[in-house]
Amino acid sequence: DAMVIQNPRYQVTQFGKPVTLSCSQTLNHNVMYWYQQKSSQAPKLLFHYYDKDFNNEADTPDNFQSRRPNTSFCFLDIRSPGLGDAAMYLCATSRDRGSYNEQFFGPGTRLTVL
Protein backbone atom coordinates (compact mmCIF):
# COMPACT_ATOMS: atom_id res chain seq x y z
CA ASP A 1 0.00 0.00 0.00
CA ALA A 2 1.15 3.53 -0.77
CA MET A 3 1.98 5.26 2.44
CA VAL A 4 3.99 7.68 4.53
CA ILE A 5 6.54 6.02 6.81
CA GLN A 6 8.27 7.63 9.73
CA ASN A 7 11.28 6.33 11.61
CA PRO A 8 11.82 5.90 14.41
CA ARG A 9 8.38 5.86 16.01
CA TYR A 10 9.88 6.82 19.35
CA GLN A 11 13.06 8.80 19.88
CA VAL A 12 14.70 9.73 23.15
CA THR A 13 17.47 12.30 23.15
CA GLN A 14 19.32 14.38 25.68
CA PHE A 15 19.02 18.10 26.08
CA GLY A 16 21.20 19.72 23.44
CA LYS A 17 22.06 16.49 21.59
CA PRO A 18 21.25 16.69 17.86
CA VAL A 19 18.60 14.35 16.56
CA THR A 20 17.35 13.43 13.09
CA LEU A 21 13.90 12.13 12.26
CA SER A 22 13.17 10.55 8.92
CA CYS A 23 10.18 10.30 6.63
CA SER A 24 9.70 8.36 3.43
CA GLN A 25 6.77 8.14 1.05
CA THR A 26 5.68 5.76 -1.67
CA LEU A 27 2.97 8.10 -2.98
CA ASN A 28 5.36 9.98 -5.28
CA HIS A 29 3.90 13.26 -4.04
CA ASN A 30 5.53 16.56 -4.82
CA VAL A 31 5.00 18.16 -1.43
CA MET A 32 6.33 16.97 1.93
CA TYR A 33 5.50 18.68 5.21
CA TRP A 34 6.82 18.55 8.76
CA TYR A 35 4.45 19.31 11.61
CA GLN A 36 4.99 19.51 15.36
CA GLN A 37 2.09 18.36 17.52
CA LYS A 38 2.05 18.81 21.27
CA SER A 39 -0.36 17.04 23.55
CA SER A 40 -4.01 18.02 23.02
CA GLN A 41 -3.09 20.57 20.34
CA ALA A 42 -3.50 20.84 16.62
CA PRO A 43 -0.52 20.10 14.37
CA LYS A 44 1.71 23.11 13.81
CA LEU A 45 3.39 23.42 10.42
CA LEU A 46 7.17 23.84 10.67
CA PHE A 47 8.07 23.83 6.96
CA HIS A 48 7.41 22.10 3.70
CA TYR A 49 9.18 21.13 0.49
CA TYR A 50 7.54 21.69 -2.86
CA ASP A 51 9.71 19.39 -4.91
CA LYS A 52 13.21 20.70 -3.99
CA ASP A 53 11.97 24.14 -3.00
CA PHE A 54 12.18 24.59 0.80
CA ASN A 55 9.54 26.77 2.49
CA ASN A 56 10.03 27.70 6.12
CA GLU A 57 7.23 29.01 8.33
CA ALA A 58 8.02 32.43 9.79
CA ASP A 59 7.78 31.27 13.38
CA THR A 60 9.77 28.04 13.04
CA PRO A 61 12.86 28.26 15.28
CA ASP A 62 16.29 28.12 13.62
CA ASN A 63 16.94 25.04 15.73
CA PHE A 64 14.82 23.08 13.23
CA GLN A 65 16.22 22.24 9.81
CA SER A 66 15.17 19.92 7.04
CA ARG A 67 16.64 18.07 4.08
CA ARG A 68 14.98 16.40 1.13
CA PRO A 69 17.62 14.47 -0.81
CA ASN A 70 15.10 12.99 -3.25
CA THR A 71 11.36 12.75 -3.90
CA SER A 72 10.84 9.89 -1.48
CA PHE A 73 12.75 10.99 1.60
CA CYS A 74 12.68 13.97 3.92
CA PHE A 75 14.54 14.53 7.19
CA LEU A 76 13.93 16.75 10.18
CA ASP A 77 17.06 17.81 12.06
CA ILE A 78 16.81 19.34 15.50
CA ARG A 79 20.21 20.83 16.16
CA SER A 80 20.00 21.41 19.91
CA PRO A 81 16.81 19.98 21.35
CA GLY A 82 15.34 21.72 24.35
CA LEU A 83 12.76 20.42 26.77
CA GLY A 84 10.14 22.42 24.91
CA ASP A 85 10.82 20.45 21.73
CA ALA A 86 9.38 17.28 23.20
CA ALA A 87 6.40 16.53 20.98
CA MET A 88 5.00 14.31 18.25
CA TYR A 89 6.54 15.12 14.88
CA LEU A 90 4.33 14.37 11.91
CA CYS A 91 5.36 14.08 8.31
CA ALA A 92 2.73 14.59 5.63
CA THR A 93 2.62 14.60 1.86
CA SER A 94 0.32 15.96 -0.82
CA ARG A 95 0.26 15.68 -4.57
CA ASP A 96 0.41 19.44 -4.98
CA ARG A 97 0.05 22.59 -2.90
CA GLY A 98 -3.07 24.58 -2.34
CA SER A 99 -6.67 23.85 -1.60
CA TYR A 100 -8.25 20.50 -2.44
CA ASN A 101 -4.94 18.69 -2.08
CA GLU A 102 -5.40 16.10 0.61
CA GLN A 103 -2.53 15.77 3.02
CA PHE A 104 -1.53 12.21 3.91
CA PHE A 105 0.06 11.85 7.32
CA GLY A 106 2.53 9.35 8.66
CA PRO A 107 2.11 7.82 12.12
CA GLY A 108 4.49 10.31 13.71
CA THR A 109 7.66 10.15 15.77
CA ARG A 110 7.29 10.86 19.47
CA LEU A 111 10.34 12.76 20.68
CA THR A 112 11.32 12.77 24.34
CA VAL A 113 14.02 15.16 25.54
CA LEU A 114 15.73 14.29 28.82
Binding site: V4, V31, S40, Q41, A42, P43, L45, H48, Y50, N55, L90, A92, R97, G98, S99, Y100, N101, E102, Q103, F104, F105, G106, P107, G108
Partner: protein, 111 residues
Protein backbone atom coordinates in the same frame (compact mmCIF):
# COMPACT_ATOMS: atom_id res chain seq x y z
CA UNK B 1 -8.63 36.59 10.75
CA UNK B 2 -6.63 33.47 9.97
CA UNK B 3 -8.12 31.50 12.83
CA UNK B 4 -10.58 28.66 12.78
CA UNK B 5 -12.47 28.39 16.05
CA UNK B 6 -13.64 24.91 17.01
CA UNK B 7 -16.05 23.80 19.73
CA UNK B 8 -16.57 21.97 21.95
CA UNK B 9 -13.13 21.02 23.23
CA UNK B 10 -14.46 17.65 24.34
CA UNK B 11 -17.67 15.76 23.77
CA UNK B 12 -19.22 12.62 25.25
CA UNK B 13 -22.02 10.95 23.32
CA UNK B 14 -23.92 7.75 23.93
CA UNK B 15 -23.60 4.97 21.37
CA UNK B 16 -26.16 5.49 18.64
CA UNK B 17 -26.45 9.21 19.27
CA UNK B 18 -25.51 12.15 17.07
CA UNK B 19 -22.16 13.85 17.60
CA UNK B 20 -21.94 17.49 16.48
CA UNK B 21 -18.75 19.54 16.28
CA UNK B 22 -18.79 23.16 15.19
CA UNK B 23 -16.25 25.44 13.56
CA UNK B 24 -16.28 29.12 12.65
CA UNK B 25 -13.95 31.21 10.51
CA UNK B 26 -13.44 34.83 9.52
CA UNK B 27 -11.40 34.75 6.33
CA UNK B 28 -13.83 34.71 3.42
CA UNK B 29 -11.00 33.71 1.09
CA UNK B 30 -11.02 30.18 2.50
CA UNK B 31 -12.19 27.80 -0.20
CA UNK B 32 -11.60 24.35 1.24
CA UNK B 33 -12.80 22.97 4.56
CA UNK B 34 -11.56 19.50 5.52
CA UNK B 35 -12.14 17.50 8.66
CA UNK B 36 -9.37 15.28 9.95
CA UNK B 37 -9.75 12.36 12.37
CA UNK B 38 -6.89 11.38 14.65
CA UNK B 39 -6.69 8.28 16.80
CA UNK B 40 -4.21 8.13 19.73
CA UNK B 41 -0.69 7.41 18.53
CA UNK B 42 -1.60 7.92 14.86
CA UNK B 43 -1.32 10.73 12.39
CA UNK B 44 -4.45 12.63 11.34
CA UNK B 45 -6.40 11.24 8.39
CA UNK B 46 -8.79 13.09 6.12
CA UNK B 47 -12.36 12.20 6.98
CA UNK B 48 -14.44 14.43 4.73
CA UNK B 49 -14.07 17.84 3.07
CA UNK B 50 -16.33 20.47 1.55
CA UNK B 51 -16.07 23.47 -0.77
CA UNK B 52 -17.99 26.69 -0.02
CA UNK B 53 -20.29 26.34 -3.03
CA UNK B 54 -21.96 23.34 -1.38
CA UNK B 55 -24.17 23.55 1.73
CA UNK B 56 -23.94 19.92 2.73
CA UNK B 57 -21.82 16.86 1.99
CA UNK B 58 -22.54 13.38 3.26
CA UNK B 59 -20.31 10.32 3.33
CA UNK B 60 -21.83 7.39 5.14
CA UNK B 61 -22.56 8.41 8.72
CA UNK B 62 -20.52 11.62 8.42
CA UNK B 63 -22.04 14.90 7.19
CA UNK B 64 -20.58 18.37 6.84
CA UNK B 65 -23.05 21.23 7.01
CA UNK B 66 -21.75 24.53 5.64
CA UNK B 67 -23.27 27.97 6.24
CA UNK B 68 -21.41 30.46 4.08
CA UNK B 69 -23.28 33.56 5.30
CA UNK B 70 -22.64 32.70 8.95
CA UNK B 71 -19.08 31.55 8.18
CA UNK B 72 -19.66 28.36 10.08
CA UNK B 73 -19.40 24.67 9.31
CA UNK B 74 -20.07 21.60 11.36
CA UNK B 75 -19.47 17.86 11.40
CA UNK B 76 -22.35 15.55 12.26
CA UNK B 77 -21.70 11.91 13.07
CA UNK B 78 -24.91 9.90 12.93
CA UNK B 79 -25.37 6.66 14.87
CA UNK B 80 -22.09 7.31 16.71
CA UNK B 81 -20.08 4.19 17.52
CA UNK B 82 -17.31 3.50 20.06
CA UNK B 83 -14.89 3.20 17.13
CA UNK B 84 -15.57 6.86 16.33
CA UNK B 85 -13.85 7.86 19.57
CA UNK B 86 -10.98 10.06 18.40
CA UNK B 87 -9.89 13.67 18.15
CA UNK B 88 -11.46 15.61 15.30
CA UNK B 89 -9.90 18.68 13.73
CA UNK B 90 -11.62 21.06 11.38
CA UNK B 91 -9.39 23.06 9.07
CA UNK B 92 -9.54 25.60 6.29
CA UNK B 93 -7.32 26.74 3.47
CA UNK B 94 -7.35 28.88 0.38
CA UNK B 95 -5.13 29.03 -2.65
CA UNK B 96 -2.11 28.96 -0.31
CA UNK B 97 -0.75 25.57 0.69
CA UNK B 98 -1.28 26.00 4.40
CA UNK B 99 -4.04 24.39 6.40
CA UNK B 100 -5.38 26.52 9.25
CA UNK B 101 -6.38 24.06 11.96
CA UNK B 102 -9.05 24.27 14.62
CA UNK B 103 -8.00 23.39 18.17
CA UNK B 104 -9.54 19.93 18.04
CA UNK B 105 -12.41 18.11 19.73
CA UNK B 106 -11.87 14.96 21.73
CA UNK B 107 -14.89 12.76 21.11
CA UNK B 108 -15.76 9.85 23.39
CA UNK B 109 -18.58 7.50 22.47
CA UNK B 110 -19.91 5.63 25.49
CA UNK B 111 -21.08 2.05 24.84
Amino acid sequence: QQQVKQSPQSLIVQKGGISIINCAYENTAFDYFPWYQQFPGKGPALLIAIRPDVSEKKEGRFTISFNKSAKQFSLHIMDSQPGDSATYFCAASWSNYQLIWGAGTKLIIKP
